[in-house]
């Protein structure tokens, strides 16, 4: 049995008894998570860690490929290197709102692959009567090939590193051109900003030169926390061209205005025209519809101490 590092063993035993539970990964119950996150960890932490060390059978030693499977529904040969866009729930849901809009307006984007893992909660989303996993990859081969990676659930913090590693391994085989992360950066005075600015971070010199060439503002100093940070780190290690776009956004309210700014920047980088009028017209409805996802994402961001993005990094020069 594979036991999450912070999983109290007694709970694992209660759930799984003596059954053969090979490859089962158990996540810490929210109550346990809260206990560990707060002061009580000093009281319970050592006890739980003792139990885990005593009972776990060697910890989690599965490889990334074994933990996360990217299942391709059909075989697609891209005529030229595809551009990749990544939209996952994060600050202001900028990524998922932009991605959702792209799927609506580009009719040739179709479901291409599913990302499956026991590290994710057991969720299936149903659209037009068809069930699919919440983390999916769309593809389009028309004109310039495009891959769009979307998640309809907040990425569980415990799985961010594995997921990033798996996605980067998979993308490397596809020989991508530009990889653009669609994100937001929380600004406390968002209400006073009419049109959010977009900032960009490049993973290597090539990415930086594209940002400069397209006249997008560079994100000079600061911190990013969460899935886009882990992805950036992986892309940087492999010298792949990753541009993380961050629009000024509400931290914990869905922000279609920020998503529109991001899509404009994507259009500039990829030299494609993206119609954002429909997005802005439906902005209020989108804000209403995405409340639940924003609430869940807010909780996940709290676990990752996302508000530390407001901090200034200590290293100066």
């Amino acid at each position: 049995m594979k036991i999450d590092q912070r999983m109290p063993v007694w709970a694992a035993k209660n759930i799984y008894g003596n059954r053969d539970t090979k490859n089962v990964v158990i996540h810490l119950h929210p109550v346990g998570r809260a206990l560990l996150a707060k002061k009580l960890r000093f009281l319970l932490g050592p006890f739980i860690i003792y139990l885990i060390e005593k009972k776990s059978l060697g910890g989690n030693n599965l490889s990334t490929e074994e933990l996360i499977e990217i299942h391709e529904i059909e075989k697609i040969d891209f005529p030229e290197p595809p551009n990749v866009l990544i939209g996952v729930p994060d600050v202001g849901l900028v990524g998922i709102i932009s991605a959702s809009h792209l799927v609506t307006i580009f009719e040739d984007l179709r479901e291409y692959a599913h990302v499956e893992s026991s590290l994710f909660p057991p969720v299936v989303v149903v659209h037009k009567g068809k069930p699919s996993p919440p983390i999916r990859i769309y593809a389009s081969t028309k004109d310039t090939p495009l891959l769009l990676i979307v998640s309809e659930i907040p990425i569980p913090p415990d799985s961010i590193h594995e997921l990033s590693e798996a996605l980067v391994n998979w993308l490397e085989q596809k020989n991508p051109n530009y990889i653009i992360s669609l994100g937001g950066v929380g600004v406390p005075n968002r209400l006073e900003i009419e049109k959010p600015l977009v900032f960009a971070i490049g993973s290597n010199e090539k990415a930086e030169s594209i940002i400069n060439e397209k006249k997008i503002e560079i994100f000079e100093e600061g911190m990013i926390i969460g899935p886009y940070a882990a992805l950036m780190h992986c892309f940087q290690k492999r010298d792949m061209i990753n541009i993380a776009l961050l629009a000024q956004s509400h931290m914990k309210y869905p922000d279609p205005g920020a998503a529109a700014s991001i899509l404009e920047a994507v259009g500039t980088i990829l030299d494609v025209e993206i119609d954002i009028d429909a997005l802005l017209q439906r902005a209020e409805e989108i804000r209403l519809r995405t409340r639940d996802l924003m609430r869940d994402t807010g909780r996940t961001m709290d676990q990752m101490q996302k508000e530390r993005e407001y901090q200034v990094p200590a290293f100066y020069g």
Binding site: P30, V31, R33, A34, L35, A37, K38, K39, L40, K128, L191, K252, Y253, P254, A283, E284, E285, R287, L288, R289, R291, D292, M294, R295, G298, R299
Partner: protein, 159 residues
């Protein structure tokens, strides 16, 4: 005489014990409250079919003197559609949507329902002065400034 002194001493001790118990009770209460506050909110749906209300997102910020509560109220036309009731320990917000919302493809029972209002009951982490509360509605976000109910004494440095 010695007898009398003993009785008064006993009485004194008894009061001390009561005081200690009271202190213990308060400490335990504080600890228990902190313990339960650390739990995540139990899951409940963000809509209510009976009242035809949707629950908006909200956020509480705190400064030294006030609580700043923001509530996201999309599809609410202007401030005349919003009603705010503030009491010392909670605020209740009711807003009428510009047009009723119905999601035909969503869920099993929800698809039949038209939601007409947004409603949120917010329990405040500290007592406030409702008479001095102020509200602003801009870009679909309601901002409430709620002064805390506290008395501050300036402490003078004598030496």
């Amino acid at each position: 005489m010695p007898e009398k002194r003993e009785i008064s001493k006993r009485k004194f001790d008894f009061e001390k014990i009561i005081e200690h118990f009271e202190l213990m009770r308060r400490r335990m209460e504080e600890t228990i409250n902190k313990f339960f506050e650390s739990f995540p909110e139990p899951f409940k749906p963000s809509w209510n079919c009976e009242t035809r209300c949707l629950e908006p997102l909200h956020h509480i910020d705190e400064t030294k003197g006030e609580l700043i509560v923001t509530v996201d109220l999309p599809l609410v036309k202007d401030k005349s559609k919003i009603e705010i009731d503030a009491v010392e320990d909670h605020v209740e917000i009711m807003a009428i949507l510009d047009k009723p919302v119905k999601w035909e493809r969503w869920g099993t029972t929800q698809r039949e329902i038209e939601f007409e209002r947004l409603h949120k009951f917010i329990k405040l982490p500290e007592r406030i002065n409702p008479e001095e509360a102020k509200a602003e509605f801009k870009s679909g976000i309601l901002t409430l400034r709620l002064p805390k109910k506290l008395t501050t004494y300036k402490v003078e440095i004598t030496d």
